[in-house]
């Protein structure tokens, strides 16, 4: 009976994926195809993620906390911690959203590449999974312990985000942009 389970699972997954294809098709009917504009925006978004990643290191920097601890009143310290926590959470949510959008665009753009390699795809997927995992852990840490107790996780998340963006940048370099649409118009033959 145990041997039956994988086969039943396979049959069920085929049905589920079939339904997913139908849902995807109905969404695609409403959505427009990838255009040069999307490609360009993806590049800009990618650069902004990299810049923000550099800037956010300052939010989690312990130098500022040490300075406030030395010179500020308890009220100022509380305000400072609250502000940094809120900034950290905002940045993390925004970065997660942006990276998710980049991943989505990456998958759409895969059809336009000259040669997507399975190794590259696997690496990108693993990087994305690592980033999602690290950012969720960081989110929990930020909530529970504040911005300065999660420095290691922050460093890891930043590295993961940077690495993901670099890998994604490589994908963009390989896009056959000639095949992209010129504007936001529906293309049906």
């Amino acid at each position: 009976m145990m041997a039956l389970i994988p086969i039943l699972l396979l049959g069920a997954l085929i049905l589920v994926f079939g339904v997913r294809l139908l849902v995807q098709w109905s969404r695609n009917n409403r959505a427009r195809p990838v255009t040069i504009e999307d490609y360009s925006l993806a590049r800009t978004a990618l650069d902004s993620v990299l810049v923000e990643t550099m800037a956010i290191k300052r939010v989690f920097a312990t130098d500022d906390r040490d300075f406030i601890s030395r010179t500020g009143t308890p009220e100022v310290r509380r305000f400072f911690l609250r502000e940094r926590k809120s900034l950290g959470l905002q940045w993390l949510r925004k970065t997660k959203k942006q990276v998710g959008q980049l991943m989505d665009l990456h998958l759409k753009l895969a059809s336009y590449t000259y040669e997507p390699s399975p190794k590259f795809e696997l690496r990108l997927t693993v990087n994305y999974m690592c980033f999602i995992l690290a950012s969720n852990v960081l989110l929990a840490f930020l909530w529970l312990r504040g911005p300065f107790h999660a420095v290691r996780t922050v460093t890891y998340t930043l590295r993961a985000a940077e690495h993901f963006c670099t890998v994604f940048s490589l994908r963009l370099e390989k896009i056959n942009s000639v095949k992209l649409g010129p504007a936001n118009e529906p293309r049906m033959a």
């Binding site: 396979l10 040069i36 800037a55 059809s111 399975p118 992209l180 049906m188």
Partner: protein, 253 residues
């Protein structure tokens, strides 16, 4: 009486799918799929005749012809693969490698199971072989559906209908054959009765979605001044964005 009705309805629907394919000029485009439909139509007619005229021969004829049907259905999987990844040569290459790996693994496992099971009778071997071929087909279809979802491959209405109908057919058949391989499983008896109706649903899906020729989403034309201008503008914007990012990075402590 009910069985006859379902049987005749299936034959009629298969005929309609073929005729509509001819009329809507889809026969040339989806040649392999229509060849499969023609094959199962012929088999259904022969089975019906066998059931009526020589009932004693029917069981062995059924299992042998079932094997032929399953082998022929590989044409549909090939057709879906060919049509869906026509404009994505890169993804097609990835898919080819992945499917080849799945095919070899599944085939090895099935061959090993078959050899260990021994050869009882010709219909029994045909039934077992058919079952394993269906499992392999299920594995290949699963990988393909996963790839289509992952890479957001765009489908036209005709191809979508073909794929959905085929997924329903293979998905349920894989489950049914798994139940059948366990003798005395009561659930398989009920499930088996349900299968002809799902086959009718599959045929109705094919009939409805392949009634007219529907255009596929296509890639844009490759040489237009506007496109070249857009491309140049996009690349300039990208270079500017990249430069500003570098400047910002340099200015930051």
């Amino acid at each position: 009486m009910d069985t006859d009705l379902i049987w005749l309805a299936a034959i009629a629907l298969e005929g309609v799918v073929l005729i509509r394919g001819l009329r809507a000029a889809l026969l040339k485009k989806y040649f392999l799929f229509y060849a499969y439909i023609a094959c199962i139509l012929l088999i259904e007619i022969l089975r019906f005749c066998s059931y009526r005229l020589a009932p004693g021969l029917y069981p062995s004829f059924y299992w042998n012809s079932e094997l032929v049907t399953i082998v022929a259905s590989y044409a549909v999987i090939f057709e879906i693969f060919r049509q869906a990844l026509r404009h994505s040569p890169g993804v097609a290459r990835v898919a080819q490698r992945l499917l080849l790996v799945v095919f070899v693994i599944a085939l090895t496992s099935a061959a090993s199971d078959l050899l260990h099971g021994g050869f009882a009778s010709v219909p029994r071997v045909a039934a077992d072989l058919g079952r394993y071929l269906r499992y392999i087909e299920g594995g290949l279809l699963f990988v393909m559906l996963w790839l289509f979802g992952r890479y957001r491959i765009s489908f036209g209405r005709n191809l979508l209908g073909l794929t959905l109908g085929y997924s329903l057919l293979v998905g349920l058949d894989v489950m049914n054959l798994a139940f059948l391989s366990f003798h005395g499983n009561e659930f398989s008896i009920g499930f088996r009765k349900f299968l002809p109706i799902t086959f009718l649903i599959t045929l109705a899906t094919w009939c409805a979605t392949l009634w007219f020729f529907q255009p596929d989403p296509v890639q844009p034309e490759e040489s237009a001044i506007e496109r070249d201008y857009g491309l140049l503008a996009a690349k300039t914007r990208a270079v500017l964005a990249h430069m500003s990012a570098r400047v910002a990075r340099t200015l930051l402590p």
